[in-house]
Symmetry: C2
Subunit: 339 residues, 2 copies
């Protein structure tokens, strides 16, 4: 897991270098007019799809739905999808229900794109266009480089299909390099959080999927039950669990939703919870008692990749601090063959 | 909370009695062709919207997206929604971001329907058509009758807009009456689960939103961190938290996904977790060590209302067993004014 975390600047740089190839491939299946997207994924890939949901709607201004695969695989619903682009995501490309769902969506009229790390996989075969993540073999059970590569692929798709730039890619690659070179902040925070029995992750908009993924990653590597929330969903009930026994990790980037996360952190602290911020500066989340710093100046739409690296480092150090092998925790296997 | 749980057969019967009025109102805003739906909600209403997502796509065969309100309220994205129906849901109608998001979706070309319990609310004013839930005042903080009324409203909308019947409504009302009259199963299960520090809820397809809502309800009324999963998402990682310290509540109805839930319960039990089933018969989830029985014979699409009543009874008895006032837990307030 540690080695694969370290590969991320190179993985993302290689993907960015292929951005014009990706744009050309996608142009070939873009419906005209483009009416909407349907995204299909499970697990970590589903969290990446939540990021895709934000970045695609932001860039293209058309609605994005996350598929409910059971409707296609169990109830035989073939939705009417003329004008829709369906995007299936699977690191291995071997989750049978993702490939099966893509086939039904195509039968319903959608054009199809597959994002996966194995171009010979069933998902790749089920789709008209494949965007290879090119992350190389991922051996640790917790997805790391394939997760950030999927985020990058979604941002590149959004750039190719929409009319808004997603940001400065070379600057992102530099920030990733800085992040993987120094994990002191995550190591220190892990020491602070190691005894936590209840742990929340908070992020909004482009950082909401990072909060979801951080929760899954920490659960996978430590066995501790944890959960990602947007600040707004947190206030609609789950804030009830926050007291002195709760620790929270709050992800924040400068931008229109920073104040929402700042306020959630203050509410949690007021209830006695201990808050760790993942942010550019401690002052961005004043209520936090510790900071995992991210390099400053990354564009808001691309910053989730850097925050994801910090979340992975935190999960890794939490696992080690709890005596769990982060590469192969709890008998989980790499390909989850849900049908 | 107990009194409001008991009102549900009458609330649903009143709503069903208005089904032809609802169908007529909805026909007036149905785009032709209907290309898709966007649903807008938070908290319990968002879980009801997940049910809406399944039942609307099942009945109409067009894609359903759940909105990400921050794109509209913080980033100024006005999506292109010609041919889309947007449905906003808020029990009080006073969650400002839900009304604000609906206004932006309408500006983008969507036709708009509001589901709410207060027809004089900002949400009702923001929408072209209002479907009043007619549940009467809801005083307890945890939503109960407005939640099941919202499920019923979505099923009635699906019936009006699609070409598949959602099921036998009088039979549902009878099942709800049986369920509210006898909460012995929930009381017994609460005694079994009272010491749980980690609790999972599992449901698939039409019962997935019930698992999500059961998790929120139990968190709200007991302060115990809990989480709803589909069996498939559970296997993509969170299964790691399951051991002898974990308790799980598995929701099952006869139908195409019953075997998925049965297998998840078996996997959890094999890891040492204790499983309570909410199902027609204990044999439906053989791995369960306790059963909260639901009346048999309710159609699969409507059964989630009966399962929701069982989840509410469980949350109520868990709160009482832990010495929490279920009507006003942990300083939560009834209207959550997220902007």
């Amino acid at each position: 897991m540690a080695a694969e975390i370290a590969e991320q600047p190179a993985v993302i740089a290689r993907l960015v270098a292929r951005s014009s190839d990706i744009a050309a491939a996608v142009a070939a299946v873009r419906p005209d007019p483009l009416r909407g997207f349907v995204l299909v994924a499970r697990g970590s890939s589903d969290h990446a799809a939540v990021y895709g949901r934000y970045v695609l709607e932001y860039a293209t201004g058309v609605p994005v739905a996350l598929a409910a695969p059971s409707l296609q695989t169990r109830y035989g619903v073939v939705p009417r999808l003329d004008g829709f682009l369906a995007i299936g995501v699977s690191q291995s490309g071997r989750t049978p229900e993702v490939a099966a769902t893509m086939e039904v969506l195509q039968a319903g009229g959608a054009r199809t794109i597959g994002l996966c790390n194995d171009v010979g996989s069933p998902l790749a075969e089920a789709c008209e266009v494949v965007v290879p993540l090119g992350a190389g073999p991922e051996r640790a059970v917790p997805a790391t480089k394939t997760f950030t590569a999927t985020l990058a692929a979604f941002a590149l798709l959004a750039q190719a299909l929409g009319d808004r730039s997603t940001g400065d890619w070379p600057r992102l690659v530099d920030a990733l390099a800085v992040a993987v070179d120094d994990d002191t902040g995550a190591r220190t925070a892990a020491a602070l959080l190691v005894g936590a029995q209840r742990l929340l992750q908070v992020g909004r908009a482009f950082l909401y999927p990072v909060a979801l993924e951080a929760g899954l990653k920490i659960t996978e590597t430590t066995g501790v039950a944890t959960n990602g929330y947007s600040p707004h969903d947190l206030r609609h009930g789950p804030i009830a669990v926050a007291d002195a026994g709760v620790h929270a990790v709050c992800f924040s980037s400068p931008g229109p939703v920073a104040a929402d996360v700042e306020r959630a952190a203050a509410d949690l602290t007021a209830r006695g919870a201990r808050v760790v911020a993942v942010a550019e500066r401690g002052g961005d989340v004043p209520a936090a008692s510790a900071l995992i710093a991210v390099p400053s100046g990354t564009d808001e739409l691309l910053a989730p990749l850097v925050h994801s690296v910090r979340a992975q480092q935190l999960a890794l150090h939490l696992a080690q601090a709890r005596g769990v092998d982060p590469d192969r925790p709890f008998g989980l296997t790499k390909v989850t063959a849900t049908e």
